[in-house]
Symmetry: D3
Subunit: 251 residues, 6 copies
């Protein structure tokens, strides 16, 4: 039994609250247990210089943690004057993953800026961010469609992510919290689409190694967890879509 009494193949409680802040085109508060991230999707009607005049859009992501999202306060990257390697790795991952399920041609010459700001961290912030960011983008796409800025959804499928690992005792675990993550010998982040295909697999044995068999066990767990997240995402997006329709028919 795990410390928080979960089974090895059990997710923490996953919640996605839509419309958490008012200004962004799409916004959610996503929680994976005590990990809480504000994800917002901002639509800008132009693309970065290297994408101009190609008739297609762009999606990029930024990731940050509030200084006291963590047990020990961490120094702000703005105070340090630079973004750490860890942050860069994570925001590149989020952006790349989202682009794999978006038809950039159908988006038109627009950028969707995705901001993932961790307000409370307890392990798995990058996978919670990806899972929440997909919904924030989905909400922004609903708004673009409702505003008739685009004719059809550029979304090619659903996207979610989860972390898996191997405990010090050698057991494969789903959705590690911070304490489990610190003691795990292997840590793997898996991003998948609703078509059941892989988008990113990043497995790391920090000062440790792992076998092909362990890798397969972890991928099996990830697949199970991600499917459950897809259901939660769909419920939120459908509810938002219904609410939007009602609101419009009221007008």
């Amino acid at each position: 039994m795990r410390l928080d009494e979960r089974l090895n193949n059990e997710l923490r409680k996953v919640e996605i609250i839509s419309g958490f802040v008012k200004h962004p085109e799409g916004s959610v508060l996503v929680s994976f247990g005590d990990t809480k991230v504000i994800c917002s999707a901002s639509v800008e009607d132009r693309v970065p210089p290297f994408m101009r005049n190609q008739g297609k859009g762009w999606i990029t992501a930024e990731y940050s943690m509030l200084p006291r999202a963590t047990e020990q306060r961490t120094i702000r990257e703005s105070s340090k004057g630079k973004v750490t390697g860890r942050t860069m790795e994570i925001q590149r991952l989020i952006g790349r993953a989202l682009r794999s399920v978006v038809n950039l041609d159908a988006l038109g010459e627009r950028t969707i800026w995705v901001d993932c700001d961790v307000i409370q961290a307890d392990g798995g912030t990058r996978t919670a961010s990806i899972s929440g960011a997909y919904v924030a983008v989905g909400l922004a796409v609903q708004k673009l469609l409702a505003d008739e800025k685009i004719a059809e959804s550029p979304l090619l499928g659903q996207l979610a992510a989860v972390s898996v690992g191997v405990s010090a005792e050698g057991e494969a675990l789903l959705d590690l919290n911070y304490q489990e993550d610190s003691t795990a010998s292997v840590d793997m982040n898996v991003v998948m689409t609703s078509a059941g295909e892989l988008v990113e697999v990043q497995g790391t044995g920090e000062e440790a190694t792992f076998t092909r068999a362990q890798m397969n066990d972890m991928l099996d767990l990830a697949e199970k967890g991600i499917k459950e997240i897809f259901t939660i995402q769909s419920d939120v997006l459908n509810a938002a879509s219904e609410a939007r329709k009602e609101q419009m028919s009221d007008v």
Copy 2:
């Protein structure tokens, strides 16, 4: 009548939710209408180099806005690689104001880091930050006392702040929202203690000027509003103190 149907001397709805995030020693979500700020107080058992070996403590503040706290997305200061002048001004103000109501000697050789992160902005973010930060510090002090790290509270009084201004029509207004702030000819931030004394008065006529009489009207409004905020702060701190006592007697 103002756009949001308030009277000229009326605050927006002010709410302070304590314990909003779990790691900091003190944490609140403060709202002044649609302006929402997470304030956290982190206690560190050492002081910055320039304060060492004086047997006294330090309080410092940092302020930031999520990129999409605002109507238009703003670039992260960490991406720009530097903190803007506006941010520096605000965080210096918050830190200075808090220090005016704390007996640094009674704090011992500790630093309280106050982080004010605006998650949604609608005018008055710096005064909401100060008003919330005071409560976050108060909660951290309660914890220091409960943990018997300090023998008596270093707090010398209560602290709150509000913005006041003069509308384009020349009327003094209390607690301006973003729209009022953009069109006001004068903008003043007032910080006061519960002893009725002034801590900071910062009045600015951007491309405009104001008279001594207008200044006095604004100070009167500020005083009225700040007194109402004191009550809300007290209620939150008292409730937290009660809860803590109950929790301890349960043990």
Copy 3:
């Protein structure tokens, strides 16, 4: 009696020498006692990007201190690679204050860069800077008029500033020098126009507070001092204008 034998309501010796350096369109050396600042106004025939194509001008200010303007040598901001919060606060204040007395439409699509470089510091550098900067801008405006680049002066009134404070003994003081400033419990900077209106009031009780009555006493002193500075400014600007006329009639 004050340390330098002044009365509480007495300015230090204020001197403004015009044409101190040869390249700028307007240039002065301003002294408030031992505080000495080179203020220069440089006219550039374009505006920053955010102001373009609006047919109006812009005024912006930069402030710096030579490393050994102070008793202890301070590190250059260029060596540190960043401008400190204090410098940013001051240069934002100077720019904002100057813009309140300039009709930016009458300036045309031009920028006036005001540089305030403190060569010797003894308290009140920001208020000396504003008082000198106004004259530097006035000289640059005379040149723009003489060169027939603008048809009428964009200046809407005169601008000056002074610091006031409350001593440790509770007495309101005008124009504090460094030693008085270090021991004062309250420090206030006041910027006014020749129409007798306020432009900026920034009162700060670092680890102290002040009453409305003290605030009023300080504002009274400030008003007295600023009026005396207006006379000195006028004399310099009139002399320069006369000299320019003579020089032109010689040609």
Copy 4:
């Protein structure tokens, strides 16, 4: 058949020249076809602050490319004033991978700095870097043993890496060159130990996805290629060890 006439499961010509530069404790020039990297291992007799007084060592890596290692010249990171996200990702990967085969306790309070400088790039620079860096570290360890600074080798096994991918036509390929990499739909970097265990698996479908079956095919190819690299590494390290012994017996 591939563009350079290799089979899908065939490595490019891999060469490792030891002692390429004279100052480092260990140094190689590693080539994977036209990709050429200078790897050097520098031993420093102290550890970074966060590792002090634990009686154990540290290994860290830095990665860079000469500006014209690539087809188009790229701007130096020193000129930009910051290290890009891509560089950070790579140098974190190299360091982490090396640490997985080093017993840091046996290294003593020393740091091994590994520098991987790409002088010519044609795809697979990070995996060539890891494979060369292992040999550079091995040479430095030989020197530490010969100088009797350590009593036994801290190396726990051999380490090598290779890139694999899926071509646009859906075929799994081993050791992609630049042209193949640009058109591949999936790119995966695999790091393994001579014990046949995985250290890192980083698979990415940039704007694409991949199946579990494709992932397994790629891992099979990687395993085959890495085994061949282990042989080349061993030959170089053995030759260097022999040469060192001869040189010592001459003395």
Copy 5:
């Protein structure tokens, strides 16, 4: 005849005013014609880390120009966030030159910070800076001796510098002003000691070349000019020394 009616071997008017600012241990305003530089020497009772515990001192220099010292306003290096290559070259030159005439052992574990701030530029700012800096250091040494912090002067000789060049017409010129400098085909800076020895010779033909004969002509001119500067320096230092003695005998 030159534009300002000087002979080819004639210096501009050289003036050195001692005690120009009050805080530094040594301070001058040096003018070479319209080039004006504030040089200050600040004594600090410690040395940089790399010099510690060697019982000897250090001298270092910093150089800067006010933004409007030049005909066109230049951006502050503090705003750019970095020091330009030109500035670095010049401050390294000034420091190196001064160290050649100072016995660092006799200075004790002290640093002399030399700040050269150009307030008006008309060519030859680096050579004016060196010539003025020597006097500022001399004044600081007088103070160290008077305060009995050192027993004997660490100065080994006098130091001065001048620029020479070859005009577009091929004539060697002494002490070029800005206009001459812009059109000269060769520019050379020469630093010498009062013993008649060379400390630095930096000759540059930007997009041009020069012969050994021209080089010799330039060195002859430089030698003549520098001897004249030595006299001016001596007069200032002697006068200051006399004044100091009188002041002390008054006490």
Copy 6:
């Protein structure tokens, strides 16, 4: 006799290998004894903003050392986030020197980026860089001519550089290695054209001085050494030219 058994007027072994890396338009590995530098010349079909629309070209240089090119590892400038003064001085020198032998009008609106990356340092890296960079540029020019992008060579003559110095014993030495350089009292870098004219002379007595006679001795040695380098450069460029012709006639 010198430590490496050279005569005082003897160069180290100078070698220039052309085509060392494959992507640049011109590339060499230049060695002066154990000093080894990769010089590459990259042609870009545009010029920097300040040169635009003048119908002429630009040449600029960058210089860097691998961290372990030196006996002690040095920190990367990209990690420090800034280029050191030494690097700036050197790259400005290389660029200026190259421009003195190139007719920028004949180059057309193109930039030649010269990158000098020191892979092993043993004194004289800047003069080796210049001597190698000239050949890299020569190779790039051959390619521009062969590709018929320019009609005639923009090269006005040959360019080479060498360091000379005065040993602690007072003897003038040619081409100092690192050990000689560290103990020399004077260090001079001389750049000359094949027309026998000087381009740069930079003589520095760090904490020492030198006489006119010593300067002349050093210049004599430099002239002798540079002539020998001219022969080596010519041989390489002629061989490359022949090879190119053969290759073209084969087609």
